[in-house]
């Protein structure tokens, strides 16, 4: 404290810096709570205004129902159990597609990353496929596999595949050659080099790929369920449109946002756990 005082008297500029630091530290104590509060001011205000306008019937209920109405819709669905089956089936679809897409991406990505030949054979073709907007596959998949589960899961898997694949390839080929040389000095064989050096070094990139793959998975499940489903959150969207009930649509949108965020948060947790050694990189 005394030291600080001395500093402040001698250099006015430092004083300001110290002061900023001090307040910064103060913020640090209640920092996360405070940012949550700050961040919710505008949404909460908007919700209240929205609710008020709906009650005053300024906003027509058949277009934009009140937040409480939407909330009640979700609540009713939760009570009669339909909510859980819709969420469940959508999550399972995303999960299956995610696993399928990831497995294929790991296999092809490793081949392309490790073998020059495989890269020359496969990579140009995959890059070409990548430039097809993925939703353009929809009619073809329906034609091939019908409107049931396989076409939906395949659809999602295609979405998941590309970011995971690209990140695996760049992760593996980006491994520092100098680190591999260290392994060679210890006479590690190829298998050990892969296990002890290449895989851990490529892990950050792989996890980034998983996270953006999952994000795309959630996007693609909407498309897949819009094209024809009898259950799932995407089906709720269609149902809401057909029965002219915007509250169902908005409820479904909100649920998509919540579970999408939740699944990303789980991956982020895994990322933080396994990559705590990483330097500097700001992770979002």
């Amino acid at each position: 404290m005394k030291y600080k005082g001395e500093l402040t008297t001698s250099v006015p500029l430092k004083k300001q810096i110290e002061k900023n630091k001090a307040t910064g530290k103060l913020n640090g104590f209640s920092g996360s709570g405070r940012t949550v509060i700050l961040g919710s001011i505008i949404p909460v205000t908007l919700l209240i205004i929205w609710e008020g306008l709906s009650r005053l019937e300024v906003l027509p209920a058949y277009q934009l129902p009140a937040p409480t109405v939407i909330f009640n819709t979700i609540l009713t669905m939760a009570q009669d159990g339909t909510l859980w089956s819709h969420i469940g089936i959508t999550t399972i679809r995303v999960f299956q597609g995610f696993i399928l897409g990831t497995i294929v991406a790991i296999i092809l990505g490793s081949l392309v990353g490790f073998y020059k030949k495989a890269e020359q054979l496969l990579d140009p073709m995959l890059q070409a496929f990548r430039s097809i907007p993925s939703l353009a596959w929809v009619p073809l998949f329906i034609l091939w596999m019908g409107i049931g589960e396989p076409s939906k899961v395949t659809m999602i898997a295609v979405g998941v595949f590309f970011p995971v694949y690209l990140n695996i390839v760049s992760g593996i080929s980006g491994v520092d050659r100098k680190l591999i040389e260290v392994g060679k000095m210890y006479s590690l064989n190829n298998f050990q080099l892969i296990k002890r050096i290449i895989l851990p070094a490529a892990l950050p990139s792989f996890i980034v790929g998983l996270r953006s793959g999952l994000g795309l998975g959630w996007m693609f499940v909407v498309a897949a369920e819009l094209m024809g489903a009898s259950q799932g959150l995407g089906y709720l969207l269609v149902l809401g449109q057909n029965t002219l009930s915007p509250e169902t649509i908005i409820a479904s949108i909100i649920l998509f946002a919540v579970i999408g965020k939740l699944s990303d948060w789980i991956l982020k947790l895994i990322q933080d756990r396994s990559l705590h050694w990483q330097d500097g990189l700001e992770r979002s």
């Binding site: 040389e181 000095m185 851990p200 070094a201 050694w277 990483q278 500097g280």
Partner: protein, 246 residues
């Protein structure tokens, strides 16, 4: 272990980096490689280590010529090259095999001797440049290599740590009698540590001169005799001077 280079040359895409290098090291000898930047010192060291197999000529370790990495050869690189996902301790035990307890004990001992006791659990991102290089030194010494190749191992360290680690290297050398090839820019370091100093010159690099230091390791730092060798080396490195062989 002895080491012998016979007519070793290395050409990168038609451009010769080192040309016709011949020298040998007796078991337990410490050889210094000195020379201006770009004259092929690192190239030569990589050829000896077996990391680079594209050279011409022969390199014999203990009398047998081989181009593969020999598992009794250790290498300390110009940069630390630590694995960022391993702790300091795990980095040091990386190349060890066998009982975990044993490995940890050995590693701890070497970490202590490079002055990093208590840093075992840190990750490389938490180390300063000098600390990282000391971990790298411990990692190479812990396997007790019989031939130790060092590429400017101490150049990133402050003068004081540098001297300490030079003495550590000598300690290790005394117990294991490793054959050492040391690339350095530091003439004092070369005269302090080496039995023989090989001076490379030119592009492509060729051996210009060999200086035997008969009083090796009895030379005190900064002594008159050391200054004499230093002058001799400086003279032969002088870029204005015509190479003595031309």
């Amino acid at each position: 272990m002895s080491l012998e280079l016979r007519d070793v040359s290395r050409t990168f895409d038609g451009k010769t980096a080192v040309n016709n290098i011949n020298f040998s090291a007796k078991p337990g000898e410490i050889i210094g490689l000195l020379g201006t930047s770009g004259c092929g010192k690192s190239t030569l060291l990589r050829a000896i280590s077996g990391l680079d197999r594209g050279y011409d000529g022969e390199i014999a370790i203990n009398g047998t010529t081989t181009k593969a990495v020999h598992d009794k050869v250790g290498f300390i690189f110009q940069e630390p090259r630590l694995f960022p996902w391993l702790t300091v301790l795990e980095n040091v035990t990386f190349g060890l095999k066998g009982d975990k307890q044993d490995m940890t004990e050995r590693a701890t001992k070497y970490l202590e001797s490079v002055g990093l006791k208590g840093s075992e659990k840190l990750y490389p991102k938490q180390l300063s440049g000098g600390m990282a290089q000391r971990v790298a030194i411990a990692r190479a010494l812990v396997t007790s290599p019989e031939i130790l190749l060092l590429d400017e191992p101490f150049s990133a360290l402050d003068a004081f740590t540098k001297m300490q680690l030079q003495d550590l290297l000598l300690d290790v050398w005394k117990t294991h009698q490793s054959t050492i090839v040391l690339v350095t820019h530091d003439i004092d370091e070369a005269t302090y540590l080496c039995d023989r100093i090989i001076i490379l010159r030119g592009q492509p690099g060729e051996i210009d001169k060999e200086i035997e230091i008969s009083e090796a390791r009895n030379l005190e730092r900064g002594s008159e005799k050391a200054a004499f060798y230093k002058k001799e080396i400086l003279d032969s490195l002088d870029l204005n001077k015509q190479s003595s062989r031309i």
